[in-house]
Point group: C2
Chain length 352, copies 2
């Protein structure tokens, strides 16, 4: 007997596997048609099975944001992992070395100090560590600030025993494509002149994934495209019908004729706003979760209505799916009304 | 050999057990001196050992927000649990009945529909279910809107086989004390007239816990007071030196002379703002985490400085500690520089 969605306890996460498959195929087709490589970020799903499916469909490998996530994926058999992070400290460097011994791995650096740490760890290692230079092309997070700094760091990497210069990486905020492109183009020019042409120039995120302009970027690292969310729809990256992840919630209170309260709060939807008003949209309606506490979501309706009723179940599209995945021990893979499987979120909570 | 904080991987949660003990004792002493009962909310710590300590020190029992949290606490031996939630649906009602058979339990209702669900489940039960009426005294979440509705619901509960009317409960936003007090006072008057005097009137949160005015409230349910946080300090409920929970993070990048990036992002600090600017304060400084992505926290300094350096470790006081606890599989209990024990967060992720 197949379980149905009606039998699930709320709040819980529903993942429409048919939409997932369509989203993965569409993105891979876009990559193939536009001459870039896809290296999906697994932070969105944190599930080895979807990482494997992404690779099966043509991804060159995966991206993970923390060592702990990469270790989970390696344990599950993923063998080409990019970790766009400055790995700092003796314990983490030891874990990095162990990981590099068993999978094709690359990391980033944005400072001489970080490269020095890699150098000390990988001097004399049987397998070199591939290091890309992280560039701040507008994201205002990590990254070298100038192309000259990028070149200096590339030289340091290339000149260090045990390390291999792997190219350039940037985190740019969604919509930052043009600025990032100009920045990277100039850096690539400088590196070429110096005889250090980058093999890989990796950038991007889900909305910018759809960019079709000419680019020096060889590889894109979208994550959210597997599920999409309210932010992505607002950015034009997808339609509501592409959204593959919803939080299923139950109406537990109708205190007024315009207010409904559901059992999904910030512990299910997160407080991420990403510029949206409210914390999520009720699928198939224009109702928004206006306020959250940890275990309650408050929906305010424009006009009085006796719907939804206490006990009704609503599917809520979160503003941002990635941190939602990180809150649940397991997610439900569904197709139509059937729950195909409930799977543990293998890389959940891997913060270090 | 005792482990030291310097040996911990980052990001991680540090809990200063000496501050915890002082915070718990101070609150209990306040309750004793001011004639109210303390029923701490365990959502903040989610740890049976601290729940037990709260009871040892004089709390009448604990509060849990979801059935799953209450079940974890009951499994650990806590035997007086208040669950201020509308429990809806057959499966959850079955779990509620099982829980009521093994601990002293009370729940809430704010609608006839919720009471009807309890009635169907507990008709003929060997142990009655205690049900309090939830009142919306300004929190604009769940709760009856008028005192007349509170009376009607109390009558429905008291007149139903298997149920016992337990009193009034309110969730009021911090600082809403006066309004809540007036609301509840009128409700209590109406109930007394009807011969349904509430045994328990339960309210409150951490900042309002310190209120010393005359009150019809018999019981307060603060949670955050065990650890405190940036919001509580801003509200005047505690000082920075009372803050018992910090996220330990490592500086992984110094991209500019005014920017430092740490390895704690929204997956460690959450995106909760609670009216604060930024996402947390670096202990012992005036530095604020200005921007977050999932695995990065960006600190912008007012003036150029070569401190902190890459590899330095910072302790960050989050805006709101409760959801932070929910992100980590385990927390580190520390005293001075020593890590006394690393304990799993037993009730983490119990959303249903």
């Amino acid at each position: 007997m197949t379980k149905t969605i009606a039998e699930l306890e709320t709040p819980c996460v529903l993942i429409d596997i048919d939409r997932v498959e369509a989203n993965l195929k569409r993105a891979q087709a876009h990559a193939d048609a536009n001459g870039y490589k896809l290296r999906p970020h697994i932070k969105t799903h944190k599930l080895p099975r979807f990482a494997k499916r992404q690779v099966e469909l043509g991804a060159v490998g995966i991206t993970a944001q923390k060592l702990g996530e990469a270790e989970v994926m390696a344990d599950a058999g993923l063998n080409d992992i990019f970790l766009p992070y400055n790995i700092i400290g003796a314990t983490k460097l030891g874990r990095l070395k162990a990981l590099n011994d068993r999978v094709t791995l690359a990391v980033t650096a944005d400072s001489p100090e970080t490269v020095t740490g890699y150098a000390a760890t990988f001097a004399g290692a049987s397998r070199k560590l591939t290091v890309l230079v992280e560039c701040d092309t507008g994201g205002e997070r990590c990254g070298v600030q100038t192309q000259v700094q990028a070149l200096a760091l590339a030289r340091q990497i290339a000149g260090t025993e045990g390390l291999r210069f792997g190219g350039l990486m940037t985190y740019s905020p969604p919509g930052g494509t043009d600025k990032a492109e100009a920045w990277l183009r100039q850096a690539v020019g400088l590196l070429k002149q110096a005889g250090l042409e980058p093999v890989v120039v990796t950038a991007g995120n889900t909305p910018d994934m759809w960019w079709t302009g000419e680019s020096v970027v060889t590889e894109r690292r979208p994550g959210t495209y597997i599920y999409y969310d309210r932010f992505q729809v607002q950015k034009g990256a997808a339609s509501w019908d592409d959204c593959a992840l919803a939080v299923l919630a139950t109406v537990v209170s109708r205190p007024t004729s315009t207010r409904a309260v559901v059992d999904a709060g910030s512990k299910a939807l997160t407080s991420d706003l990403l510029g949206q008003e409210g914390y999520g949209l009720v699928m198939g309606t224009d109702l928004v979760v206006k306020a959250l506490s940890e275990e309650h979501g408050v929906i305010e309706m424009g006009t009085a209505s006796d719907m939804p009723r206490i006990g009704d179940r609503l599917r809520i599209i979160p503003n941002h799916v990635c941190p939602v995945t990180n809150l649940f021990d397991s997610v439900n893979l569904v197709s139509g009304d059937a729950v195909i499987e409930t799977v543990p979120v293998a890389a959940r909570g891997r913060v270090d």
